[in-house]
Amino acid sequence: MIGIVLAAHSMTLASAVKEVADLMSRGSVPIAPVGGTGDPDSPFGSNPIAIAEAIQEVDSEDGVLVFTDVGSSVIGVVQALEFLPDSTRGRVRLCPGPMVEGAVIAAAQAASGSSMEMVFQDASNALQAKAAQMGGLE
């Protein structure tokens, strides 16, 4: 089963998204939240080394899908890849979809045993699904 990493600027944010996603998978999909600097004076930020650890925590042969929130989370994940063993790095996908909607879709898909490619595509298109749900109301 694929693993999911939620790389946010705050552990509170990442953990809350995990709670929502866990509802979809009934906790069956390994999801690692990661975020924050650990500095109480300036808590928001990302730590590539912590992101690399989170990826390894949920890594398996089926791969790891990583979601980011804003700004430097993306560059933090790209840097984190450098700290991973080659075998792990080769099966990590960075999802351009939105973190909340994407993680919910990914957790549901992964729980049903979907392939990485299918999970990646559906999570990446999560905003289209949301727009369709609004049906022109926006």
Binding site: T37, D39, D41, S42, F44, G45, S46, N47, P48, I49, A50, V70, G71, S72, I75, G76, V78, Q79
Partner: protein, 215 residues
């Protein structure tokens, strides 16, 4: 005039940088508050405080090892995009001076070039995007020109620091294309880029350390 960058100059550079970033913490926060998320000064101060705390135990290590550990400390402690970017700068710089006991002008060119290329690769910014690249790229070009002109190391580094300062000032009218500031679009013009500013401060600290070493 000292014409080499010894290990002691490198150690002094990093501790000078930590002091300068602490002094400029609030200034960098003000710059970042205008076009970003107001954390650049806090992040850089935190990162280089971590580096400064490691320096006593690095006193006997090679220049490459000191630079590598500086990079890793920044990556793990800065928090914003500048952590991976400056972290990569120092990791690539470390590789460029592997095995060197002291650095001459060509070594400094190799160090800066490798560091700037690392930042360009990771950050995908181009000159003119209103980022640290706008201070670092002109500094690299000035250093390369000074080397070709046969200038001394100190004189070459003076040229590089001056080019970085000019590049930093030249970010003021630019519209940001990268980072949080790019969300502001045209409204990012009229403000000096905090990343270009910290890049200038870091390079200028190296010049100060080299000149101090000369006595």
């Amino acid at each position: 005039m000292a014409e080499t960058i010894t290990r002691n100059v490198v150690l002094s550079w990093l501790s000078n940088t930590a002091a300068v970033l602490q002094e400029n913490r609030d200034y960098l926060v003000e710059l970042d508050a205008e076009i970003g998320d107001a954390d650049h000064g806090i992040n850089m101060d935190r990162g280089f405080k971590k580096v400064a705390s490691l320096l006593p135990e690095l006193a006997e290590e090679t220049i490459a090892s000191i630079l590598k550990k500086t990079g890793m400390a920044l990556i793990s402690s800065v928090g914003g995009a500048s952590g991976p970017l400056y972290g990569t700068f120092f990791l690539r710089a470390s590789n460029a001076v592997s095995g060197k006991d002291e650095l001459q002008t060509p070594d400094l060119v190799a160090l800066l070039r490798a560091g700037v290329e690392g930042i360009l690769t990771l950050g995908k910014a181009q000159p003119g995007d209103k980022t640290m690249v706008d201070a670092l790229q002109p500094a690299l070009e000035a250093l390369e020109k000074a080397r070709a002109d046969g200038k001394t190391l100190t004189s070459a580094l003076q040229d590089a620091a001056q080019a970085a300062q000019e590049g930093m000032h030249a970010t003021i009218p630019l519209v940001a294309k990268k980072g949080r500031a790019s969300y502001l679009g045209e409204r990012s013009a009229g403000h000096q880029d905090p990343g270009a500013t910290s890049s200038y401060l870091i390079l200028n600290s190296l010049l100060d350390s080299l000149e101090d070493d000369a006595g």
